[in-house]
């Protein structure tokens, strides 16, 4: 299925990822090194997070690491930042020092967990040999089973997000970034200072709108062709039963 050297590298990388992933699943070390730096952040958690990020860097390179950190930062904005605001608002009537002390460590702990697990998961996904597996299935004359067809559809959507949706959004953002650059260079210094306060407010509002727009369009772009792909993939020859293959022979 894979060329030998690529196969060995893939197995080796998966093995190393599995080792680094182990503490997240077992939570064993968590109980033995629980001395806290600040509330919610233990020495072990910080060390494990550093090891995870270092592993991602060594096994997948700086490019994937940057992508992982960007993704986790975006995720943490919604989960940690907005999550804490919402729970704070819900408990607004009972807000007190006690509330802050009991909830803050939880969010700090959640943040460090996210920075550990999410990069590891994305990096692990990036090393999976999807392309080779697709190629292998499309050369197989005995047909493709229903499970494999579902896998092909999932892979296609994943590839579409990685190769089309994300790069297209990045290109559009990069292209449109120039709108802002020119706005500031075109204004006089005094005007820029006066508008500085406004611009922070404006920037925050724009950031929220952009965040919402991007989420919506990412979802739409990711699924828009799925019905057609499902149709194409379902039309691939189904896996023949052992008896049918035997009869053909």
């Amino acid at each position: 299925m894979l060329k030998n050297n690529r196969m060995i590298i893939w197995i080796l990388k998966s093995f190393l990822f599995a080792i680094v992933f182990m503490p997240s699943f077992t939570l064993y070390f968590n109980h033995n090194f629980n001395e806290e730096i600040i509330k919610g952040l233990t020495y072990w958690k910080l060390l494990y997070c550093s090891i995870a990020i270092l592993t991602v860097y060594i096994l997948t390179g700086s490019r994937v690491l940057i992508l992982c950190l960007t993704a986790v930062s975006l995720l943490s904005i919604s989960v940690i930042f907005f999550g804490s605001i919402i729970s704070c608002l819900i408990n607004f009537s009972s807000i007190s020092n006690n509330y802050i002390f009991s909830y803050s460590p939880r969010y700090i702990s959640l943040l460090i967990n996210m920075y550990t697990v999410v990069p590891l998961a994305i990096a692990f996904m990036s090393i999976l040999p999807f392309k080779e597996y697709e190629n292998y299935l499309l050369r197989r004359f005995k047909g493709i089973s229903l499970f494999e067809k579902i896998l092909l559809i999932i892979t296609r959507v994943f590839n579409h997000i990685i190769y089309y949706v994300a790069p297209n959004i990045l290109r559009v953002i990069k292209e449109e970034k120039r709108n802002n650059d020119i706005y500031y260079s075109a204004n006089l210094v005094e005007e820029a200072t006066v508008k500085n306060y406004q611009s922070i407010r404006l920037k925050f509002r724009k950031l929220l709108i952009v965040f919402f727009d991007l989420s919506l369009c990412s979802i739409c772009f990711s699924i828009e062709y799925v019905p057609l792909w499902v149709l194409e993939i379902s039309n691939l020859p189904s896996k023949k039963k052992f008896k049918e293959i035997k009869n053909e022979r």
Binding site: T60, G61, R63, V64, I66, L67, I122, S126, I127, K131, E134, N135, L138, R139, F141, R156, N159, H160, I162, Y163, Y164, A166, P167, N168, I169, L170, R171, V172, K174, E175, E176, R178, N179, N180, I182, Y183, A186, L202, I209, D213, L214, L216, C217, C220, F221, I223, E224, Y225, P227, L228, W229, V230, L231, E232, I233, S234, N235, L236, P237
Partner: protein
């Protein structure tokens, strides 16, 4: 062109043509041009109706954006998947696979992700797919195949249509008015000229996704060039020769190594661009959202109205009929033409040196495209902004003041060099 008039159905609007195409393929593509609300309604309908299997009437199709119809990530996979349905002996299968790749000049792009293919290369791949499917398909539906395919490759489309027609199978081509009319557009107005100087120094682009590792990845090298041009300028060349890549570099929408300098009428500046797939560039934002992408929406609307006024004047002069103006209230959304105008207005409001329009005629009738380009040139030149058009059409030959032809030199299976040569009296120093 080989096709009988009865095969072609013409439309006045992009949206109408898309509707017709959707109807042919059992509404399996949601309408992203009709706003996000309609997009979700369509998705729900598809989900409710379950998938109607097109296998019964065995349909081959090429969508206006051919990527829509390609269910796999590389040319190799797309071709292998359709071959798998028709062949069950490995030696015949492999032989046929190689023959198709060579016939449609896809050998060098075999394992390239679809995203890194040019628009024309995607059309070629879709044609190759439909060609293999001619063994078992009963109908062929093509939506606007005349935009992205270069003249040099038009014979592939002809052959495909011929194969289906000769076997007595139904062929339907859905096109916009004048789309396949190759006649050159006369330049009635005397265009103002702007000097545009572009310099490329050691520019190298990586052709890969962010998540891929570094081995076995392709790169495009832009050969050092010093181009002295007159705006409006036309970029032309065969499919996959790197025209869009160069425009991404000029607008800095892509990461690259090296230096690019743009000088318009003596001032160093920067470039902005309108992508080939405009709908993808809108990111599904509405007209008003798009106008607000600039920090000065009032200025955007002022420029928008200026372009619109010019457009209406030009189209009325040429068609003498306001029915051809290209606006129609569909689904409470602005048309593709209006989206294109507002996107150009946004870019003009940021005072760039040059605006690059990649295949501006896509999704528009010939009359609309010509009027739009003339209007954009007039307004942009009045603000001392140069215009570059990327197109395979001969329409623009008399409208532009200079042109650059693209060449491609293949280094290995993943990498190539893009060469640019100015035509006419403009010299290239290397």
């Amino acid at each position: 062109m080989y096709f009988k008039p009865k095969m072609v159905q013409y439309f006045g609007y992009f949206e109408e043509r898309e509707e017709a195409f959707r109807a042919e393929i059992m509404n399996l593509i949601p309408r992203k041009y009709a706003g996000t609300k309609n997009f979700w309604i369509d998705m729900k309908t598809i989900q409710k109706d379950e998938l109607v299997i097109l296998e019964d009437n065995c349909l081959s199709y090429i969508a206006a954006n051919p990527q829509d119809a390609l269910a796999f990530n590389t040319p190799s996979q797309v071709i292998r998947a359709v071959l798998l349905r028709g062949y069950n002996k490995s030696n015949v299968y492999e032989k046929e696979y190689r023959t198709v790749l060579e016939k449609y000049e896809l050998t060098n792009n075999e394992n390239q992700p679809l995203y890194t293919l040019s628009g024309g290369e995607k059309v070629k791949l879709a044609i190759a797919k439909c060609f293999i499917m001619s063994n078992y398909s009963k109908r062929l539906i093509i939506s606007s195949p005349f935009s992205w395919l270069a003249h040099e490759n038009m014979h592939m489309l002809n052959t495909l249509i011929k194969v289906y027609a000769n076997e007595g199978k139904e062929v339907k081509i859905l096109a916009l008015n004048g789309e396949n009319d190759d006649s050159i557009v006369p330049n009635n107005a005397s265009n103002s000229q702007l000097n545009l100087h572009i310099q490329f120094e050691n520019v190298v682009l990586q052709l890969k996704s962010n998540i891929e590792d570094d081995d076995n990845q392709g790169k495009a090298i832009i050969k050092n060039a010093d181009l002295n041009l007159k705006s409006p300028c036309l970029f032309k060349g065969n499919n996959g020769y790197g025209k869009s890549l160069v425009s991404f570099v000029l607008s800095k929408s892509i990461k690259y190594d090296g230096n690019v300098t743009i000088i318009c009428d003596g001032f160093i500046g920067f470039g902005r661009m309108i992508f080939q797939d405009v709908l993808a560039q809108t990111l599904l934002r509405s007209f008003s959202q798009l106008s607000k992408t600039s920090l000065d929406p009032e200025k955007v609307m002022k420029i928008y109205n200026e372009i619109l006024h010019c457009y209406k004047t030009i189209i009325y002069d040429t068609c003498k009929n306001m029915d051809f103006i290209g606006f129609k209230d569909l689904y409470g959304q602005k048309t593709l033409l209006e989206l294109k105008i507002v996107m150009v207005a946004c870019r003009l409001s940021s005072s760039p040196s040059v605006i690059i329009l990649d295949e501006p005629e896509w999704g528009l009738t010939k009359a609309s495209s010509v009027a739009l380009i003339k209007a954009i040139i007039k307004v942009a030149h009045s603000q001392e902004v140069a215009i570059i058009i990327i197109s395979h059409k001969k329409w623009w030959d008399k409208i532009v003041n200079s042109s650059v032809s693209f060449q491609k030199k293949i280094l290995d299976s993943n990498s190539f060099i893009i060469e640019m040569n100015t035509e006419g009296s403009y010299n290239v120093k290397k």
